[in-house]
């Protein structure tokens, strides 16, 4: 028992340190705020400033928040799975600085967003949904075979999308 003592002590200390560190990370990263659906949570990170500012000045502002478009809305569980996966990817990208100035949605996110476009604009696109079966070259990643924003390029984040070049994005500083 005597011989084991120091190692057990080390183990206890390490685990305590890990737990302490975890709590610190939770506090620093405002982890609990991510349980909310408030768009301001997305600008916890300044990387989202331009997306926030452009959305804030778009027609979608009054109708749809970030999560309304970017996360699945079919079930709470799917929403939370997607949120955790995106959160993990974003935290990794921020930590490793592996992102550039121009951010693009992944195919996975594109599929979710498109599903949300369709669910809100059901009446407007019902005929297009039928016609989409006839598309010559369909994009298999999204429902309807063609990304809505291939044509509706300004919706809702504008045409100039770069962390350094998107105009008029200083309005986000009132946190």
């Amino acid at each position: 028992m005597d011989k084991k003592n120091p190692l057990i002590l080390v183990a206890i200390l390490s685990v305590t340190a890990a737990v302490g560190l975890f709590l610190w990370v939770v506090q620093e990263s405002r982890a609990l705020s991510y349980l909310s659906s408030d768009p301001k949570v997305c600008i916890n990170c300044h990387t989202m400033n331009t997306s926030y500012a452009t959305w804030q000045h778009s027609s979608h502002r009054g109708k749809a928040s970030c999560v309304d478009c970017h996360l699945p809305r079919d079930s709470f569980i799917n929403k939370m799975i997607a949120k955790s996966r995106d959160g993990y990817k974003h935290a990794t990208a921020m930590t490793l600085r592996s992102y550039g100035n121009v951010l693009r949605v992944s195919d996975d996110a594109a599929a979710r967003i498109q599903a949300n476009c369709i669910s809100c604009h059901q009446a407007a696109v019902s005929q297009m949904l039928d016609n989409s079966a006839l598309y010559d070259r369909a994009d298999p990643t999204v429902a309807m075979g063609r990304r809505c924003w291939d044509c509706h390029r300004r919706v809702p984040h504008g045409t100039t999308r770069s962390l350094t070049a998107t105009p008029d994005n200083l309005g986000v500083k009132e946190l």
């Binding site: 183990a11 560190l21 610190w24 100035n101 070049a165």
Partner: protein, 521 residues
């Protein structure tokens, strides 16, 4: 024992990524604070309101300060990115790539030496090293006028201010060797007090007003982000202008002038030169009164889709970049293709690879037509020379020579606008198509003249390299290079020494500069 070791290892294993995340969050929060802060206004920076003591202690930037390092003390990031224009080290010998150019420019400096342009850092170095500026032995010798410095250095606006514009434009190139020593830099585009974009060369303002559709007084800030570039990246000629100096002596200035009175299209400028009977030189083989086009980048850009959509040169050639929380415009002016992510993709949705392929194909299309035009025109020059040799008269030759003049002018306009294949592909291809048409039209006329003089089946000589083409037009390259080296070994070092003594020369601009030319071994 095993359990506790495992537990420790597991704890350490989870702590590592958590620590990394924590460090990153801290860093990003600091960045966030800088980025969300109200940007400082330039004037308060100069007054010392920002970064307190250090900035206030700096000496003010003088008007016409040509040493960019002095500006760099206030704007280290912009200055640092500007210095990186030195990275375009390699020389591309354009005559070697298409030897037909030697024939097209026979009797003119460009047949001796012509390289693709390098970064702003090399402006002076390449101007001084090219065989076109020859080997002067004092301030009154050499083949070129002072005007050849005009777009190479911020010392030019300084000299124009000190001496007067007409005096600056008078004399031989070598006259200003001890005065013009800093490559294109801050003072060429910026006001020293407000940093606002400003035009340092009045000939652009005069040309805009003469053309009339976009007078200088109406230029917006966005226009200025193109116009500061257009001071140099435009078509010009040296207009001979008489003037009388303070002592009452008659002088002749050769003033850089933009030929925009009739408009900025290739036809409008052609008409401008024809109306004035202007010729850059008489062709050595065909005796055609020739025109030389010089980088009509601005004229071409404004006809293209990016120009029409209100983009400025700086939007793609000087993209915004980030360093930590600080955003600034990169002053490493060069090809946007080196940074597609920060340029094209800001507005376009394709991938980088797709972009490269699209642009590559655009360039291939232009090269295809440009090569075809050059080949036609080179043959036309030889056929005209043969006709003269057989005794053709000036009346017989005139219509064909006019076609050669116009055809080569158009070809040159299409290729010398450098990025024209991208800036305005339709206009560039249209211009090159008319060049081919004019070249063929000249050759049909010449064939009739040749037939009349008994040489209906004359074939122009072939050539497969720059050297063969230069030998065909009788250029003595060894002599030209020897003269140049004599100048570079003697007069050049003296220029730099005198300029340094006058306190004009920023030595950093030539630090580590390797001697690179098309003729050095």
């Amino acid at each position: 024992m095993k359990k506790s070791t495992l537990l420790t290892a597991a704890a350490v294993a989870v702590m590592v990524p958590m620590l990394l995340l924590l460090v990153s969050i801290k860093e990003n929060k600091a960045e966030q604070q800088t980025q969300n802060a109200v940007p400082p206004i330039m004037n308060s920076l100069k007054g010392g309101a920002v970064a307190a003591g250090d900035v206030a202690k700096l000496p003010a930037i003088k008007k016409y300060e040509s040493r960019s390092a002095e500006w760099g003390k206030y704007y280290p990031r912009q200055y640092d990115s500007y210095l990186q224009t030195s990275k375009s080290i390699e020389i591309t010998d354009v005559l070697k790539e298409d030897p037909a150019l030697v024939i097209l420019w026979a009797g003119y400096g460009f047949s001796k030496d012509y390289n693709a342009p390098r970064g702003h850092h090399y402006m002076l170095e390449d101007n001084i090293n090219t065989l076109r500026t020859g080997g002067p032995v004092d301030d009154k010798s050499g083949p070129m006028p002072t005007a050849c410095w005009t777009c190479k250095s911020p010392d030019v606006p300084r000299l124009m201010h000190e001496k007067g514009e007409l005096d600056y434009f008078t004399g031989k190139w070598a006259r200003w060797g001890t005065e013009i020593v800093n490559p294109i830099g801050c003072a060429d585009c910026h006001d020293n007090e407000t940093m606002k974009l400003s035009i340092s060369r009045d000939f652009l303002k005069r040309a805009l007003d003469a053309e009339g559709s976009r007078p200088f007084a109406e230029a917006s800030h966005q226009d200025m982000r193109t116009l500061v570039c257009a001071q140099c990246h435009a078509e010009y000629y040296f207009k001979k202008t008489d003037w009388t100096d303070a002592e009452g002596n008659k002088q002749l200035a050769e003033v850089v002038t933009f030929p925009w009175d009739n408009g900025t299209s290739v036809e409008a400028i052609e008409q401008y030169y024809d109306e004035r009977d202007f010729t850059d030189w008489t062709h050595q083989l065909s005796r055609t009164p020739m025109l030389k086009a010089q980088h009509p980048g601005y004229e071409t850009f404004i006809t293209g889709i990016h120009g029409k959509n209100g983009l400025a040169c700086a939007d793609c050639h000087m993209p915004y970049v980030r360093e930590g929380g600080v955003k600034y415009s990169s002053h490493k002016v060069g090809s946007p293709l080196e940074d597609i992510q920060n340029t094209c993709l800001t507005c376009h949705r394709e991938s980088e690879e797709e972009f490269k392929q699209i642009v590559k194909r655009k360039l291939e299309r232009k090269n295809e037509l440009a090569r075809a035009a050059a080949a036609e025109l080179a043959k036309a020059h030889f056929e005209a020379a043969k006709a003269w040799e057989l005794g053709a008269t000036a009346e017989e030759m005139a219509p064909a020579l006019l076609d050669i003049r116009h055809g080569q002018w158009r070809w040159d306009f299409g290729v010398a606008s450098h990025g024209g294949f991208f800036h305005a592909p339709e206009e560039t291809l249209r211009i090159l198509a008319t060049a081919i048409h004019k070249g063929q039209s000249a050759r049909i006329k010449l064939r009739t003249v040749l037939a009349r003089h008994g040489a209906a089946d004359y074939e122009a000589p072939g050539f497969s390299s720059k050297e063969e083409a230069q030998a065909l037009i009788g250029l003595s390259m060894d002599k030209l290079v020897a003269e140049k080296m004599q100048f570079l070994d003697n007069l050049r070092p003296q220029w730099l020494k005198e300029a340094a003594a006058k306190g004009l020369y920023d030595e950093k601009t030539r630090q580590g500069m390797a001697f690179k030319t098309s003729y050095s071994k």
